[in-house]
Symmetry: C2
Subunit: 204 residues, 2 copies
């Protein structure tokens, strides 16, 4: 057990009491409740996994979750079978046909993105959904598969208690502007650089 | 439906064929399989949620997951009831007593961190666990509740197929050095700044 002298303990107590006063004041200032647009972007790991973690949190709070995958779909990821345990509390729609460099077919990619967006709009209209996860929507926007202004207008017109989480690299500036919360996942270090392959439970 | 002319479609196809060649070569270079140390740090949202998303992915791949919460614990988050659906495939241990500014008691915080670390070591020794989530371990290290060198030595000595994900702000440089993958969640924009309060399914 680490040794702690009395003086150190008292200093810590004073510091933390001050910290708590600041914290309580900050919490008291925050009074707004509303559905959020959350964007997870950047080159680092964790954009989709954080979005699925949020889905898990929402499910734990007893709400329903919608998932639309815009790009992925050609391969199976662990989240899907895991979320099947929640039965009809998860509405999962894999609309993508795989990475753009796998399909190599612009018309097919655009058609898939348009179908995915139609599904997203359908889920936005469903009042039983608490969180809508638009996985890799940023990729569809980046390649102009979808009209950015139309997507943003539709997101803004959603019902006010619906949370939406959007993932993918290179989020468009106008989407960042429209969002409430934006996290850039920054790559400090990645095991791929050290020759480690994609592994079950980590990448898929 | 978006209009696409033939020339544009062909240009896209060539670009993506090149991209695929690069991608395939990169994938072929990666041959190592090993348990990873993954660190999610930084001031942005998504450190713990990404870790729980990874837990979900691991569960979807049929593996067992261990969770040790070093700081949180005084309040309930949605992940816990959600993961209860997976029964004994999740070993969840809430060892923290709440934020350091809530306890205001250094000795109690140190004792809680030491108990949590002992539990982490126990789970590292359990060969049925595929992923160990050490939630907010970085906070315990930042306040020197635990000995950094001892923690890193123990992480390095774990069995080689165990993945460990560590969360919390201000990851220590020596831990970043020891890690395989480090993501800094950078705060681009946060709804708290706009006066939005902590909401169910989003913050807890």
């Amino acid at each position: 057990m680490k040794e702690i002298d009395q003086q150190e303990a008292e200093r810590h107590q004073r510091k933390m009491a001050n910290r708590k006063a600041v914290q309580d004041a900050e919490v008291a200032e925050k009074t707004i409740e509303k559905g959020l647009i959350i964007v997870n972007t950047g080159p680092g790991k964790g954009k989709s996994t954080a979005a699925f973690g949020l889905a898990l949190r929402m499910l734990g709070n007893g709400r329903r979750v919608g998932v639309v995958q815009f790009i992925k779909g050609a391969w199976e990821t662990g989240e899907r079978p895991a979320l099947e345990l929640f039965g009809d509390r998860v509405e999962w729609h894999t609309m993508g046909e795989g990475f753009t460099w796998e399909t190599q077919d612009l018309k097919r990619d655009v058609a898939a993105a348009e179908r995915a967006w139609a599904k997203a709009e359908e889920l936005m209209a469903d009042p039983t959904i608490g969180l809508l996860l638009l996985d890799e929507l940023n990729i569809a926007l980046r390649y102009d598969y979808l009209d950015l202004d139309a997507v943003i207008a539709s997101l803004k017109a959603r019902r006010e208690d619906l949370h939406v989480v959007i993932t993918g690299r290179n989020a468009k500036p106008a989407l960042i502007e429209a969002a409430d919360t934006v996290t850039e996942m920054t790559l400090v270090k990645h095991h791929f650089k050290a020759g480690v392959k994609a592994q079950s439970g980590i990448e898929f």
